[in-house]
């Protein structure tokens, strides 16, 4: 029994230590954050395409999907998601457009909101992907691995902002059960993962600064500095914050002169495809984790119960044998 027990503990310790690779691991919060000051954004007025959108498309064009046609519907449904004939669309998120500038009018004033993935601190898309296709990087960005993604679109369903976008006719599902499971590959902003890993800024941040210089909408940097800067501007200029506590906190914070609950209402009344809900609870933290604690606790209680019951049972059996011998 000693060997079995020792073996069990060795295996468990080995498994646990192999997954705890600290140097490459992310903490709760990533290293970087982006500040998006929408009080400064004019949607690149006078230009055909907002600079952030233009440069994002340029930066990522080699990664855009090239679906194999004809694309088959998601059996037994008759539908499928194909954006390949709408590659030029820039006023919404698509597999070919990972950032867009949303225009909304609040109290007669036009405001422009660059919209892309918020890169949450505890991202439901990453935690919920059943194929491990989404990962959260130490830099704070959530990244989709196009070669692992089945295109089930669960990440879009669990994302409070429904950011990831699906393209059918591409991806691993075509090689497994194309008719019955999977639906393509999901695409979204990954905060220019290759650039930020090298210490560079995301392309949209650079493009915005090129145009607006010190009045740029985007500021990218160490998270602690970005958060400090944002809070300072809230204190000094009476601006409003968004993204610091929504969904348990994110690596993208918006600053605005207009309260975000008013922006939420304006977007909701327009029935916009991409909303900005003000109250966003992180279900992992509020719902799953309390049950998770019960799972762990009851596991330990069960171990204790097993040890006690086994000892009692052994003693009882021993007692029985002794009685039998006496007889």
């Amino acid at each position: 029994m000693d060997i079995t027990r020792r073996g069990f503990f060795l295996i468990s310790t080995g498994l646990l230590s192999s997954i705890l690779i600290k140097d490459n691991a992310h903490g709760k919060e990533g290293r970087y954050a982006t500040l998006i000051d929408i009080s400064k954004c004019d949607g690149c007025c006078g230009e055909p395409i907002p600079r952030c959108v233009l440069v994002c498309r340029e930066q990522n064009k080699a990664r855009f999907p090239e679906p194999k046609k004809p694309i088959h519907p998601y059996w037994p449904r008759k539908t499928y998601e194909d954006w390949s004939d709408k590659k030029g669309m820039i006023n919404t998120l698509t597999p070919y457009n990972w950032i867009f500038v949303q225009k909304v009018t609040v109290d007669g004033k036009d405001i422009f909101i660059p919209r892309r993935c918020m890169h949450c601190d505890n991202p439901p898309c990453v935690r919920g992907c059943p194929f491990g296709a989404l990962t959260k990087r130490p830099q704070g960005n959530s990244v989709i691995n196009e070669s692992l993604c089945f295109g089930g679109a669960k990440c879009r369903d669990v994302c409070p902002w429904h950011i990831p976008q699906r393209q059918a006719g591409v991806g691993i599902y075509l090689h497994i059960l194309p008719k019955y499971a999977g639906g393509g590959v999901m695409y979204k902003c990954d905060l220019c993962k290759d650039r930020i890993e090298k210490g560079e800024e995301p392309a949209c941040v650079v493009a915005c600064r090129d145009r607006l210089k010190d009045k740029a909408v985007f500021t990218f940097g160490e998270r602690i500095n970005i958060y400090e800067l944002a809070r300072k501007r809230v204190r000094e200029q009476g601006l409003f914050l968004y993204g610091d506590r929504q969904n348990g906190g994110t690596s993208t914070i918006y600053l605005s002169e207009i309260p975000f609950d008013a922006i939420e209402k304006a977007l909701a009344s327009k029935k916009e495809r991409f909303q900005m809900p003000y109250e966003v609870r992180n279900k992992i933290q509020t719902t799953f984790n309390p049950i998770g604690k019960v799972v762990i606790t009851s596991g330990f209680l069960s171990i204790a119960g097993a040890v006690v019951s086994a000892i009692i049972s052994k003693n009882r059996e021993k007692g029985g044998d002794e009685d039998a011998r006496k007889d």
Binding site: R5, R127, G128, A133, K154, I291, K293, S302, A306
Partner: protein, 244 residues
């Protein structure tokens, strides 16, 4: 007069059914955690609308895992401490297991068996390994969501894939296990025992002759005749005889 022999203790019966019930819920909600139910209209079945909401499905999955983890932990520790290793495979189990399976479909004779059939021991270690893998990767997922352990991106992805794939294997193993019990009459006494704890002496004599030899000296007259009110009825006895 044929007697009855204790095969499953109340603890074993409880472990089995807690694992089975939570396992069914975990398989179902595990499938629901994949984006399948909406696509396949499961959400449109009356009473199944909740299966389209990932948060609800995950909440049920988490809740069922409490019982699954408890059963697994209890099973390993309880039987480990009691040194009850009769279900671990022995030399020659593969060969004899094939013979038992062949006999189930009417080819050849079953080799004499101990308390457990050779194919039961192989199935136990196979399904046990999958359950252990699912439990460990599932617990890692829970700990990772709690942020009590911090995983590297690739480790988190690997753990997730292992959990999903072993879930599929568990589902297949579960279906095979249930099918083998239900579709082969020779296994029915074992199913009955998984509810009552008792098997007929005749069954043990014929199918588990090695075990019978070991225990027959220890079977008390009381065990052979008790409990009277739950003795097998004539039809069951006849069915049992036909079977053997």
């Amino acid at each position: 007069m044929p007697g009855r022999i204790k095969r499953h203790t109340s603890i074993e019966i409880l472990e089995h059914w807690v694992l089975a019930a939570s396992g069914i819920i975990l398989i179902f909600t595990g499938l629901g955690c994949l984006p399948l139910f909406k696509r396949y209209y499961i959400t449109e079945i009356p009473g199944f609308a909740w299966t389209g909401d990932f948060n609800t499905v995950t909440t049920v999955h988490y809740t069922a895992s409490i019982f699954f983890v408890m059963a697994v932990c209890f099973h390993i520790l309880y039987h480990g401490i009691k040194k009850e290793f009769g279900l671990l495979p022995k030399k020659g189990d593969v060969k004899n297991g094939i013979k038992v399976m062949a006999a189930m479909i009417g080819i050849g004779e079953e080799p004499p068996s101990d308390k457990y059939l050779p194919e039961q021991r192989i199935a136990y270690i196979g399904i046990g390994a999958i359950i252990l893998l699912l439990t460990v990767t599932g617990i890692i997922k829970v700990l990772k969501n709690l942020e009590w352990v911090v995983l590297s991106p690739s480790s988190e992805a690997l753990n997730t894939i292992i959990h999903t794939l072993s879930g599929f294997i568990f589902m297949i193993a579960f279906i095979i296990h249930v099918a083998i019990v239900i579709f082969f009459k020779s296994n029915w006494p074992l199913l009955k025992s998984m509810f009552t704890g008792w098997v007929d002496e005749d069954y043990v004599k014929h199918r588990h002759s090695i075990w019978y030899e070991k225990i027959k000296g220890k079977i008390t007259q009381e065990e052979l005749t008790e409990p009277k009110e739950t003795e097998p009825c004539k039809e069951e006895e006849n069915a049992h005889k036909d079977n053997n």
